[in-house]
């Protein structure tokens, strides 16, 4: 593609908007991996489950995406809490987190992906809402609503989670879990309970991100893999446990991908996140916000 500033600016705007959505995917990894030290590589599988739930809700009951979020995110929260209890019982408690724990999440990722294939097949699925098809344009820059809605929802999610973590007792306990478990016991907070709630929230965000995903584009089951890379790239680049870091890293990734897609074609975009992840691990494992 020939270079032009119009294209660059368009790509940057698209990238920023895309980045807002990526933040909604990555926030759950930031919570689970960064704050709770649970390497949940199945996070994108929960996201794809959310996307297919939205599809199913729309086909079966005529749910619009927002109704889907309102109905399925709480289900995701409860499921996440139960899931964490099982994980804690089988792995954390007996100190076997490393090999077996990683393999466990990898297995879950695989089960969900194949499960979706068995139920819905490998074809692309989408939902259509008339208002999502229209576009907002300022000058030569135009952004479709199907991108803008996920961007806005993503930012709202990050903001509310940030508020929750800094303003509530459980929230602050969650933040403290990553620092010092002993100190928590002394002030009478239960770290296991805090982790359970936090994991529930992480899964709920994955479900919401899934609904946002199917607003943006038609989905198919193997999409999970691209998002493992994106989510962990953002999480690591953002400094692993930092919410502002997650936001900034999401925007960086979004813009980098949009520029790559514009100038080199979409087939290169998966390499952007993984390349960024590898580069971060090699040169700056503490992330951009690290010391």
């Amino acid at each position: 593609m020939e270079f032009s500033w119009d294209l660059v600016i368009n790509a940057i705007v698209t990238g920023v908007v895309l980045g807002g959505f990526y933040a909604s995917v990555a926030i759950g990894v930031t919570i689970a991996f960064g704050m709770l030290d649970i390497v949940n590589i199945a996070h994108p599988a929960f996201m794809i489950a959310g996307a297919y739930l939205a599809f199913w809700g729309s086909e079966k009951f005529g749910f619009n995406p927002f109704v889907s979020m309102a109905v399925f995110a709480p289900c995701g929260y409860l499921f996440g809490r139960a899931f964490y209890r099982a994980y804690h019982f089988f792995f954390e408690r007996r100190g076997d987190e490393s090999i077996q724990g990683l393999a466990f999440f990898f297995g879950i990722l695989f089960i969900v992906e194949i499960g979706v294939v068995l139920i819905f097949g490998v074809d692309y699925r989408s939902i259509s809402e008339p208002y999502l098809e229209s576009t907002i344009g300022i000058g030569f820059v135009s952004v479709p609503w199907r991108m803008l809605v996920p961007f806005l929802v993503g930012l709202t999610m990050l903001g509310s989670i940030n508020l929750y973590l800094s303003r509530t007792f459980t929230g602050r306990t969650i933040l403290a879990v990553s620092q010092d478990v002993e100190a928590l016991r002394l002030i009478g907070a239960n770290p296991i309970h805090a982790k359970e709630v936090a994991f529930g929230i992480a899964v709920a965000t994955a479900i919401i991100a899934g609904v946002l995903l199917i607003i943006i584009q038609p989905v198919e089951p193997s999409i999970t893999r691209e998002y493992i890379g994106r989510a962990f790239a953002i999480c690591v680049l953002g400094g692993i446990a930092s919410i502002p870091g997650t936001l900034v890293a999401s925007l960086i990734l979004g813009v980098a991908e949009a520029l790559t897609t514009t100038f080199y074609g979409p087939s290169w975009s998966p390499a952007v996140s993984f390349g960024l992840l590898l580069l971060t691990l090699i040169f700056r494992p503490a992330g951009i916000f690290g010391r």
Partner: protein, 333 residues
């Protein structure tokens, strides 16, 4: 025929010194028996059984290779498919540019995959183990993107490979491939066995249990992890090298299939990661089960079952079949 390995009692527990040569002998004998069976039964067995045997043997190699780093050292590689695909595409590139006997293609594939393993390890093994795992996942996708965009090897559409002519020694090319895979499986298991019994295996076990304590006991952990990553990657590459001739058509989706990565992890974990024969048992059990299920139900369903088995084993029987057998034997005493 591959079930022989399961029922051979000598394999159960390699005792430190007396069992050492016995285990080696067992590997050799089983291998020789398999080879002889393949050669003798050549024209009497349907092609399907060859293909099934090939697939199972391929997983013996992949599971064993994964276990050298994952089982012995405790570093989880999610990118088995990436290393396997390096092997596939090395063959494809060589086949197009400088045709040569498959054996040399396998050596070059091993070298390429080994170098990539070494490089990935060198860059990420200083960090916490999970970062290595995430990096291997990343590596597979970056490689896949490169291949998809590389039209010389067919890009996303894939590429056809023509099987070379075969000497009169073998009944068919597939039979030749199965014999080759038997040899490779023996080689891989022998390597794993040698690693397990040597100072490398002892050092890796110490690293798996507690890396800092291993370091303060004089174990050069980075060096050992790099040795293991390189060997493991090279074996995975070798397993991938004959694959293009086996399927005759390769596209990135097949070569980088998530099923390969999952199987390579599931087989050692189901069989048991602490010993060289755990992955073999796992590969034979899961491999045979998948062959049967693919025929009787569907290939998506059989992958689903692999995932479920993986999750069930890591939660309920983290020591795998080996652990169950040992516990059962101890219980009887």
């Amino acid at each position: 025929m591959s079930r022989q390995a399961l029922s051979t009692p000598e394999l159960r527990k390699p005792a430190p010194i007396s069992g050492r040569s016995r285990s080696g002998l067992a590997i050799m004998l089983i291998g020789a028996a398999l080879l002889a069976a393949t050669m003798l039964l050549g024209s009497h067995i349907g092609e399907y059984y060859y293909l099934a045997t090939y697939t199972i043997l391929q997983f013996v190699v992949l599971g064993t290779a994964w276990n050298i780093l994952g089982g012995y050292g405790g570093y989880v590689n999610f990118g088995t498919a990436g290393f396997f695909a390096i092997g596939c595409y090395t063959t494809i590139v060589l086949n197009k540019m400088f045709p040569m006997p498959l054996f040399f293609e396998m050596l070059i594939a091993a070298a390429t995959a080994g170098v990539v393993g070494f490089g990935t390890g060198y860059l990420t093994l200083r960090l916490r183990g999970v970062f290595f795992s995430i990096a291997t996942l990343a590596l597979a996708i970056v490689l896949q993107t490169l291949i998809v965009n590389w039209s010389f090897v067919g890009g996303a559409r894939g590429v056809y490979v023509i099987r070379p002519a075969i000497s009169g020694f073998f009944v068919s090319y597939v039979q030749f491939l199965v014999v080759l895979m038997v040899g490779l499986a023996i080689f891989a298991v022998a390597v794993a066995w040698a690693v397990e019994k040597s100072w490398i295996g002892i050092g890796l076990a110490a690293i798996r249990d507690d890396e800092a304590a291993a370091e303060t006991s004089g174990v050069p952990s980075l060096r050992l992890k790099l040795i293991a990553t390189t060997m493991s990657g090279a074996l995975m590459g070798m397993a991938g090298a004959p694959f293009p001739y086996y399927v005759t058509y390769v596209d990135p989706a097949t070569a980088f299939s998530l099923a390969i990565a999952v199987n390579a992890i599931a087989m050692p974990l189901v069989g048991g990661t602490a010993t060289w024969w755990g992955p073999v048992v796992g590969a034979i059990l899961l491999g045979s089960a998948q062959q049967i299920l693919t025929v009787t139900i569907s290939s998506a369903a059989n992958l689903f079952i692999v995932g479920v088995l993986l999750v069930v084993f890591v939660t309920v029987a983290p020591r795998g079949v080996v652990g169950i057998v040992r516990g059962w034997k101890r219980g009887r005493k």
